[in-house]
């Protein structure tokens, strides 16, 4: 099994278990997440990512405020056409295949403006970390660099309720990583547009 899958599966399992423990007045959300790189990540991969997802849960502390966790995975990929890279008196020409797997793991709080209404906008902030694994493949080799960036994730979005317990969620988020002196030195940040379903558990 792909190591990333194992990671995601364990995160998934933890969230289900934790979700069960929370039970009262909570909601569970799954979204499809499109990513748009910024900063150093955009310099590495300029293509947007259409491979991503999040799993989130929130416990409602009152009708307006929910706190919980957000787990995400966004995979950025770009094929760089044959180019030459020079260092000192050496030059290497070849195609590069670039990958960036980004996993935000955040404590999150949301403020809901119209609880109980069909259309319920919210604003929120996540705080935690983004784990990044960057691979640069050339020939039969890969250069792998990792980073654990401290991260903030401001978000705005809305819930559109379908039935008593289920709602469509649309959210825009900025995953702001902060430079942390890892193998991969620069902060990794990106914007996401998330669309999914949220299930309330009363």
């Amino acid at each position: 099994m792909h190591p990333l899958m194992k990671k995601l599966l364990s995160i998934f399992a933890i969230s289900i278990v934790t979700y069960g423990a929370l039970h009262a007045q909570s909601n569970f959300t799954m979204t499809y997440s499109m990513g748009f790189a910024s900063g150093d990540l955009a310099d590495f991969i300029s293509q947007p990512s259409f491979r991503g997802a999040t799993i989130e849960f929130r416990k409602m502390v009152n009708p307006n405020i929910g706190v919980g966790m957000t787990f995400g995975w966004n995979t950025f990929y770009e094929e760089i056409s044959r180019e030459s890279y020079t260092a000192g008196s050496s030059t290497l020409t070849g195609k590069q295949f670039r990958y960036s797997n980004n996993f935000p793991i955040l404590l999150a709080g949301d403020y809901y403006l119209s609880p109980g209404e069909k259309f319920n906008p919210f604003v929120g902030l996540g705080i935690g970390t983004i784990y990044t694994r960057r691979n640069t493949d050339m020939n039969l080799y890969t250069v792998e660099q990792e980073a654990w960036n401290f991260a903030l994730q401001p978000e705005v979005g809305f819930l559109y309720s379908l039935t008593d317990g289920a709602a469509i969620i649309v959210a825009g988020r900025f995953n702001q990583g902060f430079k942390a002196g890892n193998e991969l030195d620069s902060a990794q940040s990106y914007f996401t547009l998330n669309v999914g379903f949220s299930f309330a558990n009363n």
């Binding site: 599966l9 030459s84 050496s90 030059t91």
Partner: protein, 196 residues
């Protein structure tokens, strides 16, 4: 959902050519501009056999070697170098070589059946099975050195002034275009070889 995610994991290289790389490096204290002639053997070494102290070179078949040697000649001559015979004391020796290298690796697969009854036993499972695979890479290496400066070396040999190495996955197709393209790229990477 993780299964869905895995199935849309991004693709990588599609063609063997996507993995081809060309590398060059040179001695930045070496003055190419004061040299102008070169000699090159008319065959390409692909292997060396050492039997009881006797060394035998194995050469690439002419049908493959000739277009490769021609590509090196074309590039050097268009940069202003003049080809001479080895007996005419060339400024530089150009030595091409081809190398093939095979890497073996194994992987295993562990299938099991929950509650299955294949083979008549509930919960019977397959033992893991192993497969051995290999890939072979081919490298084209060309070096340039000045045979007249061996006195400057503690071991009586000339240092290499320029090296190119092209590496790619070896296929059974013998696509010489991949090799000649790499040779063109190598000389494109080396503007300091230009004399004219």
């Amino acid at each position: 959902m993780p299964v869905v995610l895995l199935s849309c994991y991004p693709a990588g290289p599609d063609y063997v050519e996507d993995l081809d790389v060309t590398y060059t490096t040179f001695d930045n204290k070496f003055d190419f501009q004061t040299r102008s002639t070169y000699a090159m053997p008319d065959r390409i070494v692909v292997d060396v056999e050492i039997d009881d102290g006797d060394t035998t070179y194995i050469y690439m078949k002419d049908v493959f070697a000739d277009p490769i040697l021609a590509a090196i000649d074309d590039n050097l001559q268009s940069l202003g170098w003049e080809k001479v015979d080895i007996s005419e004391q060339p400024d530089m020796l150009v030595t091409p070589a081809g190398i093939k290298s095979t890497t073996y690796f194994y992987s295993y697969w562990y299938d099991w059946w929950y509650g299955g009854w294949y083979g008549g036993y509930w919960g019977w499972y397959y033992p893991p099975y192993y497969t051995v695979s290999s890939y072979t890479t081919g490298s084209m290496i060309v070096t340039m050195s000045d045979p007249n400066v061996d006195d400057n070396s503690p071991i009586g040999e000339s240092q290499t002034a320029w090296v190119m190495a092209a590496n790619g996955l070896f296929t059974g197709n013998y696509d010489l275009g991949r090799v000649t393209k790499a040779i063109d790229e190598a000389f494109d990477q080396s503007p300091y070889l230009k004399l004219n």
